[in-house]
Subunit: 268 residues, 2 copies
């Protein structure tokens, strides 16, 4: 992975022996990205630069504004802006547009106008045939970590990986914002025409909030695994959406919070 | 601390020895809170229930809508709503209102309409006399952790602590959203008439993003310490705002990213 999300700065460090030293330190870049539909400014996110077009595309998928690759006619990016032109005939529903302050539900404060608008009423996952065996599941965190070049250097970045059912890593993206990392990964799959990802698993390096589950659902992903804890709302959402939710995936242990039928429990 | 932010659910756990067990697990509650000014819905945040009025008050401070305790006439909360009545004569500037999709800058995607609106042009910290010695600084993470009852049980919650210059913990709050934890802590101080906190330090259990620095600045806090990494924008913001920013505060080490003059380097 490119290391474009990194900036090196001079800092003062207290070493374990108590001595102070003046040295360069790698920091994760945080910078605003404005997403526009044509001339209309839609949303701004604080993201780590890189894969901006994927981030914007993934955002539109997560927000249920587009579902198919051909609904986007053109996507172009400047330094801190991505401009998307929707295909002729694709309307930006007022509904979606209104939700826009709304979306980053797990993030802090969002400018939306009513609690109901947070849920997007995406259909639940249909019965999907994907199942994953325990050995494969336990192998995933190490695979993700190996690809996560930036984290090792900065300790301040989240990763999202999309795996197939035999544990092969298909897409990995990093960002200072956990939601952005997921949007970038989903956006890449969308731009490649791979949605719905109904035979895939999403692994996130941190916690699983409601919003992560909803983004996965928008992409059709039936299994979500997180290295850290899920929230209550993530669990109830997963149960309703027919998504398998695995938390604290820290080999040799993990927790299953919903739909364990997609985990192959018997030995090979 | 009360444990009201916790919900216990039945899950399936794979133990280190490979055996599966069905057991109750404590999860951090994530639920939406709507903040209203009178009848006007202002913002919704996904938060851990508890200290909702503080969260709402801290949000208004962070957003520079109010600066003094007496600008709030009344604050009342229901299950998932807080209603604030501003004092007579205090106007909700359209400017602020417009920014509302905007605020959770580090969070993911926010509905604001231009990048400039993210920065609030708060004045920098004036020369403040607070200084902290290294031993005190190194003692803070353990104090915060000791108070952080929920984290030990769920592994999925952030803490924010406000300390004085001799390392005494004055306020500690927890939330699933790091920004909410800071808003709750600042909101408590605001409701007690303690702002500006110009002789205090804010310690956060996770990373320091731009938004955390801006919230601290709104409360007048000159020193911010984080257990994990800061972002580039947090560092540049701290330098401009005359805030001391300490990262990776993991005894016996830490990094100083800005304004080291507030750290007493010489021995006692």
């Amino acid at each position: 992975m490119k290391q474009s999300g990194i900036d090196s700065q001079k800092i003062i460090r207290r070493k374990p022996d108590g001595e102070l030293e003046y040295l360069p330190d790698d920091l994760t870049i945080e910078d605003p990205l404005e997403i526009r539909i044509g001339r209309r400014a839609l949303a701004t996110t604080m993201r780590t630069p890189g894969h901006d077009e994927e981030l914007a595309a993934g955002f539109l998928v997560s927000e249920a504004i587009v579902r198919k690759r051909q609904e986007i006619a053109k996507i172009a990016s400047g330094r801190n802006t991505v401009i998307i032109n929707l295909a002729a005939g694709v309307k930006l529903k007022l509904n979606s547009a209104r939700r826009f302050g709304t979306i980053s539900s797990s993030c802090g404060i969002c400018g939306k106008e009513s609690i109901d608008a947070i849920r997007q009423n995406l259909p639940a996952i249909r019965s999907s045939n994907i199942r994953i065996d325990i050995d494969t599941l336990l192998s995933l965190p190490a695979v993700l970590r190996k690809q996560q070049g930036d984290f090792a250097r900065t300790g301040g970045i989240h990763a999202a990986g999309i795996f197939d059912s035999i544990g092969e890593l298909k897409i990995v993206r990093e960002d200072i914002g956990r939601h952005n990392a997921v949007d970038k990964a989903i956006g890449r799959a969308f731009l490649d025409g791979l949605l719905p990802l109904n035979r895939h698993l999403l692994l996130v390096s941190g916690r699983a909030s409601f919003e992560i589950m909803q983004k996965a659902l928008a992409a059709g992903i039936p299994i979500v695994a997180a290295v850290s804890a899920p929230s209550t709302l993530a669990v109830s959402f997963a149960r309703e959406s027919n998504q398998t939710l695995i938390g604290f995936l820290r080999p040799p242990s993990f927790n299953v919070y919903s739909h364990i039928e997609r985990v192959i429990l018997e030995g090979k």
